[in-house]
Amino acid sequence: MNFTRYRGTFALIVAMVCLPAWAATPAELLESFNKEAWQSDPGFKGFSRQRGQQLFQLAHGGEWSCASCHTDNPAASGKHAKTGKVIAPLAPSANADRFTSAAKVEKWFKRNCNDVLGRACTPQEKGDVLSWLMGIAN
């Protein structure tokens, strides 16, 4: 079998098999937060959009809230509080790229929860925020 000749086909098959590992939908990510929350918290009773909105818009003892950079309306563009760099909208309805990569989502929750709360967010908190963001119409 001529491997060089079918290189493109192999690459395509490998890509198709591996794709689910990094491409995701907001609903899939919410489901994985749901699973994590069930596993880590025996008292977990599901996500709350209202709690998500509060977590997002209020400061938590520190200088910043999520809204400091993303604004109170996640369907609009934000601006980095320190550098002024424009941040694309966070709500999936306004920006189809959002919440489509588990690694990227974890990276930003890790960084931004640290900046806003001074600690990592729990699966409950991540799910609350994501369910609020998913409910925002553009």
Binding site: K82, T83, G84
Partner: protein, 174 residues
């Protein structure tokens, strides 16, 4: 060198200098003089940051992906070692990403050695070249709403993202 060549040609013609030759002499002299004045301490055109897409997408999501050659290697190493506390924010990346970004930055860093015994600057705005080039910029510019931070190169240098820092293109905000 061009001026000398021009003189030779003129001599060959036994001192008779046409208008065209005068124009060419004057323009050569003018360009030589303007080159002397323009010769930069801080290169007007630096290598743009597009050399590494990981660097561009990771670092460029919060601020401009600053050209690697604006800081020496030691500075980039110190910055990469402290990403979890990056000027007040958590900018951490995973180990593999960090390694790729660090090798790109150090390979393309400024080769100018800092002052002996001095600590590597962590901010481009602390480097002697930056201070030298920006000493005429009034204080209000740095704090104006459109600039916000001296790290916001593009606020005054429209071509910054492409490595163009030519001072003739500078647009200071009101």
């Amino acid at each position: 060198m061009n001026l000398a060549l021009n003189d030779k040609t003129a001599k060959h013609k036994r001192g008779r200098t046409s208008l065209g030759e005068w124009i060419s002499r004057i323009s050569l002299a003018a360009s030589a003089i303007s080159y002397l004045f323009a010769a930069p301490a801080f290169a007007d055109r630096v290598v743009p940051d597009t050399g590494n897409t990981t660097y561009h997408s990771e670092c460029g999501s919060c601020h401009m992906a600053f050209p690697a050659q604006l800081l020496p290697k030691e500075s980039w190493q110190a910055l990469m070692a402290g990403l979890a506390k990056h000027f007040g924010t958590d900018a951490s990346v995973d180990a593999k990403t960090a390694k790729e970004i660090e090798s790109y930055l150090t390979a393309n860093a400024s080769r100018k050695a800092g002052p002996a015994g001095a600590k590597a600057p962590l901010r481009i705005t602390e480097t002697r070249s930056f201070l030298h080039e920006h000493h005429e910029v009034p204080g209000r510019v740095w704090t104006s709403a459109t600039v916000k931070s001296p790290a916001n190169c593009g606020a005054c240098h429209p071509g910054a993202e492409h490595g163009d820092f030519n001072e003739h293109a500078v647009r200071l905000p009101n």
